[in-house]
């Protein structure tokens, strides 16, 4: 009986250990994957998933531990040797080259010699066979995210892998694309290829996987049968404690229009940008407006123009309580009560090598300017913000290694707490969030989402731009989708389904930038 089981096992990793300096990323990890099995790897950010699969693909070397493929010890010393041993990998952020064509991108990962003509015909064949339509001669920079993922998969398939590793493949896909991906993965698994699938999306794991290994703080805490477990059990094993539900007060009667965008147009300022076309939205006080969309569809451009980092062509394109503010810059908008919280915590919302009081000063400096004493306006400096900085840290439970640490000394979650606290301390009328829980673990994410809800319940207007559909549906009162710089109609959340949103996200929106736009 034991023998039979061992024969089924394709890939076995035993006692894998990996540390980076003092930080232990993987501690004594054991995983075993059967032939044709879809094995999920679940864990929060920082649990060690990416490190582990990088070891499996030869990008990193473990400090100790062994890997067996088909019951034979192998040494995976480089990605090339991983490929030789039948391991293929699709990275989370892709390993593609925008300046090169699809065919060149595939060629670059091929270890065998092949003529260019043969390569192109092979790509076309595989593409047809697996329903992964892609034109070999297009530049990667011209492809959508879903198309790029197809290239990555074809690239792996060309090497006839025994084990295909996928690192968070669905975070950038529409629901329909996710469905297609699952079809392909199930087909692969039936044909005998094993799949190791990293994800933090519990529903997907239950739908797709056979087995799921849960990592927590570098250790393997459990291996469960995906078909017999529940999302609740998975979540709690992953986090190690019970997860609280968000407290939501559903009575919303406020009809005062807080913030309005009317026919906003903004042409992209460089080749890689997205032109915003005819953006219209209205949000009342006490509401949360969710703007869903896959990254790269104009969210950054929209955020810039809403925050004031980039001003509008026309003052009337943005109205705050019916007053035109389109041409006011970000500092003026802050004074009026608009607080933007950008997606990038470091290098955008904060300066990593500056201290927290300096980072507070970053968005507070205008407060110390005194119209009466012109001369003294030159001599304002971060020391003016020290008191407020301390208050933000205290009021928001920001864990600091020292009283006034540098921003880069804080963990991601704590830095986000600081950033939110800094904005909320100004008691804004309108708060605009972009991907507020991206890369933040479940505990902190829940607390951030609760803060958003509390804000709206206090009567503030909240705009939430997010890739996370779960988050959008959990928090929003009204929902719309941004696609290629165009905003869909805004509908109340109970009139939209995830599938509707998915269709809007994945639709092919033609945004003709050649037409003259005022």
């Amino acid at each position: 009986m034991a023998n039979r089981k061992e024969l089924d096992i394709l890939f076995k990793a035993s006692k894998i250990n990996k540390s980076f300096g003092d930080f232990q990323a993987n501690i004594d990890i054991d995983i075993s994957i059967k032939k044709g099995e879809i094995h999920a790897l679940l864990g929060e950010n920082g649990a060690g998933k990416s490190t582990l699969v990088k070891i499996f693909y030869g990008v990193l070397k473990p400090d100790s531990g062994t890997i067996e493929i088909n019951n034979q010890l192998v040494s995976i010393s480089s990605p090339k040797s991983a490929r030789t041993n039948g391991v293929g990998m699709v990275f989370q952020h892709f390993s593609l080259f925008p300046a090169l064509t699809v065919a060149e991108n595939i060629l670059i990962a091929l270890d065998q010699k092949i003529s260019f003509q043969r390569l192109i015909s092979d790509i076309r064949k595989l593409s047809k066979e697996w329903d992964l339509f892609i034109d070999p001669l297009r530049l990667i920079s011209d492809l959508s995210v879903g198309e790029r993922q197809r290239v990555e998969i074809i690239r792996c398939l060309m090497q006839n892998p025994k084990l295909l590793i996928m690192d968070e493949p669905t975070s950038v896909l529409t629901p329909q694309e996710i469905e297609n991906l699952f079809k392909i993965l199930k087909r692969l698994s039936k044909s005998g290829c094993s799949i190791l699938y990293i994800s933090h999306k519990l529903e997907e794991i239950i739908e797709l996987a056979n087995q799921v290994t849960i990592l927590k703080s570098g250790r393997c805490v459990s291996t469960l049968n995906a078909k017999t477990t529940s999302t609740k059990e998975l979540a709690e094993t992953m986090v190690g404690k019970k997860i609280t539900k968000l407290k939501k007060n559903n009575i919303k009667n406020n009809k005062t229009v807080a913030f309005e965008v009317k026919n906003l147009n903004k042409i992209k300022d460089n080749d890689f940008g997205i032109t915003l076309k005819n953006i219209n939205l209205k949000i009342n006080y006490g509401e949360i407006l969710g703007i869903a969309g896959i990254a790269g569809n104009g969210q950054n451009e929209l955020m810039e123009v809403l925050s004031g980092e980039v001003i509008c062509n026309n003052d009337n394109e943005i109205l705050l309580e019916n007053v035109p503010i389109g041409q006011k810059n970000i500092t003026l908008r802050r004074k009026l009560g608009i607080e933007p919280i950008p997606e990038e915590r470091t290098l955008h919302a904060t300066v990593p090598n500056l201290a927290l009081n300096q980072n507070t000063f970053l968005t507070y400096y205008y407060k110390y300017k005194n119209r009466n004493n012109f001369f003294s306006n030159f001599f304002i400096s971060p020391q003016h913000s020290s008191e407020e900085s301390i208050k933000i840290i205290k009021d928001n439970d920001v864990r600091c290694p020292e009283p006034n640490p540098l921003a880069n000394q804080l963990s991601g979650g704590n830095l986000q707490k600081f950033i939110l606290g800094r904005s909320m301390a100004n008691n804004p009328k309108v708060a605009i969030f972009s991907q507020p829980t991206w890369g933040v673990d479940i505990g902190a994410a829940t607390s951030i989402r609760q803060k958003l809800l509390n804000l709206s319940q206090k009567g503030k207007a909240v705009i939430l731009i997010s890739q996370d559909l779960e988050e959008i549906f959990e928090l929003s009162d009204k929902v719309c989708v941004i696609n290629n710089g165009v905003l869909s109609d805004i509908l109340p959340v109970n009139e939209m389904s995830a599938s509707d949103v998915g269709l809007l996200m994945g639709a092919n929106i033609n945004n003709n930038t050649k037409s003259e736009v005022s």
Partner: protein
């Protein structure tokens, strides 16, 4: 072999340790090269690093030599902090000196030092105009400031050569390309010390450093302008998020550093030459880059760095006289010093991890 692992906390010790260690290693390395070339290492060490301290008038000459380096260095500090690479300070120095000199020669009989004050203003404007060119091209058209400011150095050198040999040439200079001597009001005199007389070439221009260093410190640390510069250099997106205008900051730092380089030019000519000649700068604009780096873009650091580099330059002069080592060797030292400083910067951010062979 070794590999680098990012440190969680940037090592504060390296801020001062870095430059000190770099200087020591540079000295050692340099001595190796000299020994290889056949010069006595101990003698070289003495001549280059000790001889400038051997007499009081030599020590004062260190400050004279450091003066332009520190003035330009403070300006470059502002640029480099904002991540603007002004490599053309040499040209800005020349143009400042040229414009101020031309101005001074319009008033050949003026004796009051008020003329000098005006010259500082004119010199500042001259240097600032020269820096304005890369500034406007960068802010309007996103042209790389490194190449533009550098090309302008060559243009400035040729231009002053033309002016001095041409329109401003002194007909009584008997074949030497020189302008007429400056009027008294345009000169910076040596400082007379009661009882001692003059200390080497020590001149009143030193007072500028005494003013500039604290002013720079206040600007960087106690003003909003200084903060904007720091943020722009560290994280341009954050600067935008704060509402800082990148173009204004770029223009400001370039104009300021150009102007300061121009003032340094005025000081040099007025204190040490008394008239314009085709070569008024001896690489000060480039050496100041090293000074700015060695001083870790900090006014106090630049003060010490300027003194250090000036010492080496004087020492190299002595070494040439006594041992026949060509003066140009300071470039060698400066380059090596810069390499070690940069290595120190890497060590500040990363830790070395020695990998065992498997």
């Amino acid at each position: 072999m070794f590999t680098f692992v990012p440190r969680d906390k940037v090592s504060k010790n390296w801020v001062i340790l870095g430059p000190l260690v770099s200087i020591i290693f540079t000295i050692l390395f340099g001595l190796l090269i000299f020994t290889f070339l056949g010069y006595d290492p101990l003698e070289t060490l003495y001549q280059v690093f000790m001889s400038p301290f051997s007499r009081v008038d030599r020590i004062s000459d260190i400050f004279v030599k450091a003066c332009p380096l520190i003035i330009i260095g403070c300006g470059l500090m502002l640029c480099f902090r904002a991540n603007i690479w002004n490599i053309g300070a040499e040209g800005q120095f020349i143009m400042g000196a040229l414009l101020a000199g031309s101005f001074a020669l319009m008033f050949p009989d003026v004796e009051t030092k008020i003329l000098l004050l005006f010259m500082f203003l004119v010199g500042f404007i001259g240097g600032a105009i020269w820096a304005f060119i890369p500034a406007i091209l960068k802010t309007r058209l996103n042209v790389n400031e490194i190449l533009v400011s550098l090309m302008l150095v060559y243009v400035a050198m040729l231009f002053i050569d033309f002016i001095v040999r041409g329109p401003l040439r002194d007909p009584m200079s008997f074949g030497f390309p020189l302008t007429k001597p400056y009027p008294e009001g345009a000169l910076i005199n040596k400082i007379p010390f009661p009882g001692i007389g003059y200390l080497g070439q020590l001149h009143y221009g030193i007072l500028l450093i005494v003013l500039l260093i604290p002013l720079s410190w206040i600007f960087i640390n106690k003003t909003l302008g200084g903060f904007k510069i720091t943020v722009l250099g560290s994280a341009p997106k954050a600067a935008k998020f704060a509402g800082f205008k990148e173009n204004s900051i770029t223009m400001t730092v370039l104009l300021l550093s150009g102007g300061l380089a121009g003032i340094a030019g005025v000081v040099e000519v007025s204190a040490n030459m008394g008239q314009l000649q085709p070569e008024v700068s001896f690489g000060y604009g480039f050496t100041a880059i090293i000074v700015a780096f060695l001083g870790r873009l900090n006014p106090i650091g630049i003060l010490f760095a300027g003194i250090t580099i000036a010492t080496v330059k004087l020492g190299a002069d002595n070494a040439q006289m006594t041992m026949g080592i060509p003066k140009v060797v300071t470039g060698l030292f400066e380059g090596i010093l810069l390499f070690f400083l940069l290595t120190g910067e890497t060590l500040q951010k990363y830790q070395i991890k020695w990998k065992r062979f498997k």
